[in-house]
Amino acid sequence: MQEVLGKPEGFVDNFVRKPGDYPKVTHYCPGCGHGRVHKLIAEAMADLEISDKTVLISPVGCTVFAYYYFDCGNIQSAHGRAPAVGTGVGRSNPGSITISYQGDGDLGAIGTAEIIHAANRGENMTVIFVNNGIYGMTGGQMAPTTLEGQVTTTTPTGRDIDEAGHPMRMSEMIATLEAPVFVERTAVTDTKNIMKTRKAIRKALKSQKDGYGFSFVEILSSCPIGWKMKPVAANQRITDEMVPYFPLKNFKDEIENRSPRPTKTVDPDPNKIIEVLGVDKDERLFKKDQSFIDNFKDQHVRIAGFGGQGVLLAGTTLGYLGMETGLNTTWLPSYGPEMRGGTANCHIVLSNKEVGSPLVEKASTLIAMNQPSLNEFGVTVKPGGLIVINSSTVEGKYTERDDVTCLYIPMNEIAESLGVMQAANMAALTAYLAYSKAFDVDMLTSLIKANFKKKTLIEKNVAVIQKTYEYVKENYLN
């Protein structure tokens, strides 16, 4: 028996996904730090016995081809997006291990938002951030971590911090967030630091395996070709130039202080879905009355007022009446900033035929809950149409039109007298129904009883309906 340190089992035996004739060697340049990091990950995956349940995500950069090597599930993703992809795949495979392997351009530039927010959510993910201060694959351009004065193909005279900003310390930023449990910066320069890196990677992966969530290991690594240096000299440069700016240390280790989170399975029960959506019972409030449907005259109703008057609810209530009686019904609200301005209006079309446009351009009925609504929409009412005016807020008579019928209903007073100020809309609706006879007022009462949840509210609304009905009968139905 002998102990052997050889190719870790976390690697596939032959790199068959790699094009060309040499399936045993990587595509990396001589002396590249990625190879060292790969070896540590592969070894940790094997030793922690997680390779079967690990999904490694490699976005854009030299590690875009990481899937050639690792014996686990592999996903190649868009530049910078690995933490978002990891969010999706990690949540989809509860209990699995997600590794996001990213370079400095990927993580610190184009994917800044994704890494910050995945870290902030504390996704179950281990991020291996290889910082070599340059864009390796693209041809040696400046990275967000390129040092001041460093010459790259896009900083030919050296990085000017007045122009390009300072090199970004990502670990320090990530460590300010609450959710991450483990944040450490190491380097793969010499044996001592490689061993520290080995330990950090293992700790990060183990903490994820144990359910602690998000961990982040930044690794200073050399890019001899990008830096135009020999591998040995390149490693020395990390020590001499990078480490003073990017200190090697643990920034956060909360593993001891936190409890593992339970695995959240995502396996919705179909019965539960049906129950929550309530799509199992086909209840109809009113018995289908074909002669009612056949004789129904199209209604194009506009209801308008200020926000809080229940304009939209009055509209949907009318829509429900349409649906429950078997008519075709559409309701279209004002929405967005239009509503935030304090006004609200909606369009309701009721018909026994299929409804084309849901817009009410020429209303057969306008319910105007306040003066501006009457001013704006009164002119749109069809000749011979009906305007139901809230006389509690509109003073005097509407004299702009002599070809329409106006009902003046003290909606606020009626509602207030019954102790339910917010039911002015019900008074409006009742007046319209009582006068137009589009629906029986009793239907509205039945609907309120079926749809409202609070008993006291039902009683008060029903009282408003009754009082308004009496008012209309007394004043307009003789």
Binding site: V55, L277, G322, T329, S357
Partner: protein
């Protein structure tokens, strides 16, 4: 209630759960936000997963991740958000990942406004992101179809391993109508290509990179053959008053409903006009339109809320055999009924009067 008086946007959220969707990732934007509101309310209650993403780009890439894991996944947005998502859609098309994307179109370009337009037609129907790809696109014009097509979109996405769009607009998203929901949840099968984080699936790879040019060309040919099959099998359209129509309005989504109202009035004046409504925008019902152009139809009019983005497809189908006119409004403006009737009447008189 199985039948519900419900907004188109909310119908989409409910339908997604009935379609077997387990993950939703999205970013709020008017006029699509009712979708994310409903999802935020419903998904946790049934044990499905919902994340309000930090951006549209993150949201679509979360979809990429969940799709890699064989999950049914959805995102929704509105025009400016869809522009942002295009990167992820291109990657998903290339990696052959199913996903359902809802676009509740608003006015553009730029920030535009929150009122309805149909000016995402080009970016959604023709591909949108980089590369030679297309996504199947279904265009509902009512809340009932928002429900039905959402479910259909998930089936199509899995069947063809592709992102699928439901392309709708601000009004169809905001409008409430009675919707009858199915009362069973679609069963989702395991995919042999997906990565489930287990031993059986660990040798699967999802990628969109092929450095070798002929290998990348092969990927493109596979996709192209898939699109040909979709064009062969998945064309959908509906017709109204087409039997004797001399003038045909070609219109989809909310514009088709405005057109329908106009057609009713024009018919009452004795004008033989009908509505041809493409439901699948990719695949576009080109063959059917071409057949109509060969037959008795004498005039086509594309009515759409854009500067004629769909008009090009109508012209390709009609291929110069018959005149093709266009009418549309932009900026969130909607043609009034009278305006549309007058314009269509004018086209009729100009060509057939």
């Amino acid at each position: 209630m199985k039948r519900e008086f419900i907004k188109g946007n909310e119908a989409i959220a409910k339908a997604s759960l009935l379609a077997g969707c387990t993950h939703y990732f999205g970013y709020p934007i008017t006029p699509s936000s009712e979708i994310i509101h409903a999802v935020a309310n419903l998904y946790p209650k049934v044990g499905a997963d919902f994340v309000q993403a930090e951006s549209e780009i993150a949201a679509i890439n979360m979809c990429y991740g969940a799709s890699c894991a064989g999950r049914r996944v959805m995102t929704a947005s509105s025009s400016p958000g869809i522009s942002l998502k295009q990167e992820g859609v291109s990657y998903m098309a290339s990696a052959e990942l199913p996903c359902v994307i809802i676009d509740i179109m608003r006015a553009g370009p730029g920030l535009g406004n929150i009122w309805p337009e149909q000016s995402d037609y080009t970016q959604v129907v023709k591909g949108g992101g980089h590369g030679s790809y297309k996504c199947p696109v279904l265009a509902p014009n009512s809340p009932q179809e928002m429900c039905d097509f959402t479910i259909d979109a998930f089936e199509l996405a899995d069947k063809y391993r592709t992102p699928v769009y439901v392309l709708s607009d601000a009004y169809t998203g905001q409008v409430m109508e009675p919707v009858e929901f199915p009362s069973e949840v679609k069963k989702v099968k395991k995919n042999d290509w997906a990565i489930y984080g287990d031993k059986e699936s660990k040798h699967n790879l999802v990628t969109s990179i092929q450095m070798n040019t002929t290998e990348m060309e092969k990927v493109n040919i596979v996709l192209d053959n898939k699109y040909k099959e979709i064009m062969e099998k998945e064309v959908r359209y509906s017709e109204y008053m087409m039997d004797d129509a001399e003038m045909v309005i070609v219109s989809y989504g909310i514009a088709s409903r405005l057109s329908r109202s106009a057609i009713d009035e024009l018919r009452s004046k004795g004008i033989k006009v009908g509505l041809f409504r493409p439901i699948s925008l990719f695949p576009y019902p080109t063959k059917k339109l071409a057949a109509l152009a060969d037959d008795k139809v004498k005039l086509f009019v594309s009515v759409e809320l854009s500067n004629g983005q769909m008009l090009e497809d109508v012209k390709i189908a009609v291929n110069g055999k018959k005149p093709v006119e266009y009418y549309g409004r932009m900026g969130g403006a909607i043609p009034t009924h009278d305006e549309l009737v007058e314009v269509l009447d004018g086209f009729y008189k100009k060509h057939l009067g």
